[in-house]
Symmetry: D2
Subunit: 125 residues, 4 copies
């Protein structure tokens, strides 16, 4: 008997990431653990949690909350991740992560000397 | 000056649909408008609205709320769409759509002899 | 007995589209059929066919090749779709479609007076 | 002047992965590096390379080809990954990877005692 397969659950479980992140993280000198932290932040944000704590993230990984804090700090220092202020509907400010610097780097090939992206004929900035 | 491009917004705007729906809807005798209603239901559900009204859907389409109601009814009759009961955390029942019959039809590919849709439990093949 | 469910096939069948296309096509005055033609072009390109013929597309739709030709012409006139020249590795030129004008319109809200996108606080620059 | 943003490139660069893999790999006792190898295999397959070599994979990671070979062997031993025979159109057999055992485990919660999936109220039948 086949009962419990749920196609809708699988269809709805799918999740989008930029292919270029997988292809280029090593050139950006990111470790596998750092990329997984980035993917978890991206996933949390897609699920509505804009500012997951180190513990939120760490529970899905092999690292501790403390190690996660350290990685988050490193990502900020490397200008991969930034913390932004967001105003909600009640005019209250709250903090959230943004991976914008990472996407800019990846999609504009903006890595000083050697770009990770094939198309980089636009680097004047 | 390049200011306003927001890569993060684009990355987060991407949305997953089953390729097989595009490839097979015509064989299932679904019209373009019916497929768009299905895609809107799928999108609403991914955004957390499990039971969009005909008006919710119609506002994004060229059809009226009334025509949308008719299409929803047709999709239910064709066993593409079903309405299910869901119990929330407060034990309250609420209704939601499920596209499970559609995914079953598409992914189990049982369209030879039988009409486009139907859960055919188990293939003997 | 449950034999034939193939999870890998489902996982690999998923396909990414910009959510904003679903949300905004009606504002752009595109019909459901026109959007489906756009989605088919996008799908063909993701599968490696950069310049599908009207017949390639029409076979998956309820319209004829001739009607599809007409829609493609309309999309080009509306500046949704363009035909570009691409040089392959043997220096031969070939034609391909690009939906770049559509994505620019959708993501930059570049529709003269009235933008289709919710976030437009960056249009002044 | 803003010239060089290429929206189509970004839209076409997006890539689908099962969310449940991110959520559950730690419960499956997979390391971050092992998950990245899995994601690379998945990406290669989506791009048409069904049987990437350890070197193909390693070049995108911080590990060597030799270490990658070891990880691939471990994944096979853990029944996450299998090597299958595929017949091409000329009746020639070639090998390819399949992640089917991983998806089965993740989506069916089929880990004997402790399921990795949240929703498992349907396992009894």
């Amino acid at each position: 008997m086949e009962s419990h397969m749920n196609y809708q659950m699988i269809v709805q479980d799918q999740f989008v990431i930029p292919s270029i992140l997988l292809k280029s993280y090593h050139q950006l000198k990111l470790s596998e653990t750092e990329v997984m932290v980035i993917l978890h932040i991206h996933r949390f944000q897609m699920e509505g949690n804009k500012f997951p704590t180190p513990e939120d993230i760490a529970q899905y990984t092999s690292i501790s909350g403390q190690e996660c804090t350290k990685i988050l700090r490193t990502l900020i220092q490397k200008n991969i991740l930034v913390i932004e202020q967001e105003e909600n509907e009640n005019k209250l400010l709250s903090e959230c992560y943004s991976l914008e610097p990472l996407w800019v780097t990846l999609y504009k090939g903006d890595q000083s000397s050697q770009p990770p992206v094939q198309d980089t004929n636009d680097q004047q900035s």
